[in-house]
């Protein structure tokens, strides 16, 4: 059972959290600026996007690629476990605070362990949206129009992942 000692010094309780928040904010700002000028999308698996993505498992895709991506998009693999190579990329994405978006086609996709570890989920099927929201909440889920152009799809991916706690529209 997790029962971790926590740093209770002034540095541990005030300085380090503030530094981490600053670091995260800095990364978010950098990613936002970069995504406005030259958005970079990484991918794991065959993602059904009209946008060009960087295949992160492709030969020659070296270390450091993940940190330069604005978003990593994934599809559910055939393997019922998370493939080892994907896991290492997901760990790298976690370390660099890069959002990870799983494209979900069916309810069965939500049973894959990937659904438990990504930051966001999108579906091309509007009728699936409520199922996704029940699973991961309104702030982490959205529809991704499969017929939209690459600019719109890129915008949809960044719009979903950009803000941590957005104010709810029309509440």
């Amino acid at each position: 059972m997790p029962d971790k000692p926590v740093d209770t010094t002034w540095v541990g309780t005030r300085v380090l959290p503030a530094a981490r928040r600053l670091k995260r904010a800095g990364r978010q700002l950098g990613r936002r600026a970069r995504s406005a000028v030259a958005p970079r999308l990484g991918s794991l698996g065959a993602v059904p996007l009209n946008v060009t993505t960087i295949g992160l498992t492709a030969a020659g895709s070296g270390s450091g690629q993940v940190g330069r991506c604005g978003v990593v998009v994934l599809s559910v693999p055939k393997d019922p476990q998370i493939p080892a190579q994907w896991r290492k990329i997901l760990i790298e994405a976690e370390q660099h605070s890069v959002p990870t978006v799983l494209i979900v086609d069916s309810v069965q996709d939500l049973e894959h362990p990937l659904a438990a570890v990504v930051t966001h989920l999108m579906t091309p099927e509007p009728t699936m949206l409520q199922t996704l929201r029940d699973f991961a909440g309104a702030e982490r889920t959205a529809v991704l129009d499969p017929l939209a152009g690459k600019r719109e799809q890129t915008h949809a991916l960044f719009a979903l992942t950009r803000v941590h706690t957005p104010v709810e529209p029309n509440a």
């Binding site: 995260r24 362990p113 909440g137 702030e139």
Partner: protein, 559 residues
Amino acid sequence: MTPAHRARADRMAELAEAEGVTWQPSSLLPGLSLRVTNTAGVQRTERSLSAAWNAAGHLDPALLDQAWEAAAREADVCGLRTYAHGAGTVHGSVSGCQVLYVQVADSAVFFSTRLRWLAETAETLTADWQAWSEILAFGAPLAGRTTFQEIHRLMPMEYAEVTDSGAVHLRQHHWPWEDYAPQASADLAEVTRETVEVMAAHMRPHLVSTGAGAAANPMLSGGRDSRMLTALAARESPDPTQLTAWSTSSDAGSALEELVAAEVAETLHVKHRIVTGHYRAFGEDFADYAEAVDYQASFHFWLMPVVRALRETPGSIFDGIGGGVLLGGGFADPADAARRTRRDLMSSRIQARSRYLTEAQKVLQHGVAGAVADRAQSGAWPTAERYADHPNAHTLTSYLLRTVPGIAPAPAKVLGGAQLTVMPMVTDQVAGLALQLPHHAKADGAWYPHLLHAADPRLSGMPTADDLTGTRHHKRRIASREGARHLAGLVRNGPAAGLLSAELAAADPATGAGVVVWQRLLNSQRSQHLIRGLALLSLWLDQYGTMVDDPDPRRMRHA
């Protein structure tokens, strides 16, 4: 025992049966019947009955040949020794992690592993606002207090005794962990080997002789304790393919725990399952956890989805409770401890465990925040003072302020409600070995590389989730709109609303701006802890508000 006492015991048994408890055939003495489940060990002689139980089950029958103090120490069991003339003893375990509640009545002691069965059959119930202040400050009531003044949880080696004359006492036998002190001469390699082998020996019977065959369920997070137990389970199992390591999200804003656990499981060739909570079920998970721990702790509500899966998965569960405090050396005094006064050190040990209160003004009304802080300090002071001069002062103080009251209900009651649950790191032998190592050998996790290598060399050098965590960018389920609206609704619509800070009282979660106020506070560990405590209080008042005297939580203000 009077006829009224017997009638109450029967009502308690009926409540247990209504929750699905099934009894073994009764053990009878003249004037005495004992109903037990199949996980308890029982021994009957002509004039006496003895019983012992813990969350792990599979007890050696010879255990009951010993005095209760020896049995409690050897197997970390709670138990009962009673005689035909009505005298007897109900005792707690050496670790205190096995949960047992007692209510002392005139010439009788009522006891139960489930607080509800005592509460619902009690003649009178009085809310304990000191206990609720401690739930807010520490996560659970201290020193055996419960949310009812009439009911007590047995702490390490505590016992309730009915004497031949009918007098009733609640006392503590000497706690052997107080005798363990750091030894400069301890051989690190030998202590490491022995510690690992003691844990393995403790786990072995649960891997070979269970009704589930070789199936077993180690809990596997991204940390060190759980991977050590998973490695030992794989090493000791006659068929490691029957093991399943289980991971869930502790809702800490990162998926590294699950991802690193998957790496460890693959390294050890152990099947791995990740189960996380659905957002729609947040309220159900929170309420089910509160119920499972009898509203006595507010920490691990996120366990419920994996607990439901474990109910359908036969095999003992292995849990690493106690590792951080006993093996990890993380609960230690600051580096400048030698320059501090005794009183300052005692205060710092208490404040380290009640650190959530630094954000109290954001969540609680000004007067309430101050009163809770005062009550927290006064409630913890006797424990801090008792061990102030002990060579393991901070470790024992932390263990009694946090591990026993707040953490133990999760493995002992919540996981233990799904399958038999083994806690190898809080056995007397492991505690004895760990507490005899000098502090520097354990400081900041210094002992772990040795322990992990001894458990399985493949674990050497593998990073933990904490080693890899940079920033926590995931949305926490509790800080989602769904989670925030649920908790805000619980607190604002009940009597606990009167304790809220002006900012939270004004933040209507139905509005976009209002729910964000709750979400931001829930996204921070300290304020989240306080809101969880208020929500737990609201659920408790829903359940018991009409049964307790004076259920107004504003009484907490009167420290």
